[in-house]
Amino acid sequence: MIEARELTKDYGAKRAVDGLSFTVQPGVVTGFLGPNGSGKSTTMRLILGLDAPTHGDVTVNGRHYRDHAAPLHEVGALLEARSVHTGRSAQNHLLALAQTHGIPKGRVSELIDLVGLHEVARKRTGQFSLGMGQRLGIAQALLGDPKTVMLDEPVNGLDPEGIHWVRNLLKGLAAEGRTVFVSSHLMSEMALTADHLIVIGRGKLIADMSVDDFVARASQKVVVVRSPEPERLRAALAGEGVSFEPAERGALEVHGLTAEQVGEAAATEGIVLHELTPQQASLEEAFMNLTRDELEFATEMEEAAA
């Protein structure tokens, strides 16, 4: 469990994280979503105590990270930026970390095998590809068999097979009752992996809800309809909150009504329809809509203040 209260971090005049409060629950995969530069990595560094918050507080499994007697058993983390000495082998990198907690050497080999780095375990990590670096980072995160797993953009640089593997890994970890907190800038990736979402933009909390609720809230009611009598159809559908936009090949895009409402109105008036297609906003659009609103709001506030 991760609990953040009013978490704020300033770097000089720039506010990277702005009053974030959220709780990451065990037993589910929680996605941490936001555009690049929105403060996800900073938040994760604050959770691990690598950076100190300007205001606010964050605890992991009930304590500040640095107050745990065995932090590697509490939280396993993959950080976005590379955090391995390029002149050291993967084997020795993991061994040195394991030794701080008295974790046996066999555990290192076990995890190297699990992430498929056996062949290159004794090579200097400076020669690793991005994907191999990510695999090493995942092995590092799992080293202490932690109650909480926190991964920053884990699928970056992985091939499709690796991405699939990471998804199953995360779900398996959550099914075992662990807290799984995973960041991404891709909504589509989160939709396949996460149960719950924490969305931030410009360091501020935008949404904290289930993936299903997020999609429902963010998608708009849009229906594409084609009729030989577009004028009559417009008149039949017109009402408060309803707007029209021309679509391809003479079709009409109706905003603010469901497909059922459009079909029933057309039947009542006896208008022939050649096409009636509900447009589900894609997850990526839903995410963009939410973050764009937040960014526009922030820009307006700044302009008003100026």
Partner: protein, 276 residues
Amino acid sequence: MNAIAPTVRVPRLAVTGRIAFHRVLLSEWTKLRSVRSTKWSLFAAFLLTMAFPVIFSFVTRSHWGSMSPGERAGRHPLDIALAGVNVAQLAVAVLGVLLISAEYSTGSIRSTFTAVPKRLPVLWAKLLDYAFVILVLMVPAVLASFFASQAILHNIPQLQISFTQPGVARSVLGGALYVVLVGVFALAIGAIVRNTAGGIATFAAIFFVLPPLMFTLPTSWNNAISQYLPSDAGRQIFALHHAAHTLTPLTGGLVFLAYCAAAILLAAVLLVRRDV
């Protein structure tokens, strides 16, 4: 919505430990021995410590017959035996800076401080491990240098000196101790500056730029101040004779030790306070 059966099982860890200082010491030892720069720097320090006295001894022996009395008087067997120390300290200082600055340049410091979030045990462990390895390396190196140079100079009675003569053992072993303290001082500078080039430049400024700069001061000021510089004070640990305007071996050693302690203290305070 995510009801797919998990296919990746992470093996569970049978035993769980906790952070302990002896474990951090072992971890830092693993790090020390698992990068190439350690082996090369220490090999260079070991070789330089012995190579210079050997070469110096051979040159002295072959030229002794043609030297003037003044030149002969200027030669001292301990200066010859410890000629490599001033060169070896460079390799040891560079590695000292590198041991911590490379953690920052590669980002591995984030992994290190995630494993040991209280941070300070990492600094103590690095210092102890490094001091230990330099000591183990340098004591045999200075002893070998002393006895090798004495053996080469065996037919020049004026340059023979006994290891049991007062101050000789202290000077020879002091040469090793001085290099240990230089390594510790450089590591602390690396932790303060957190950058390889900056750390090495800072060390070089303190040890090689500052002392000659003192000669621009009026002589009386230079005489009063120079003896308290880290380099001059530290060098007294292995000086056999107490020259004018220098500290005694004990005082000089303590002054250098105080500089080391101050650098370590500053490094510790910054290590805990700064973001990584």
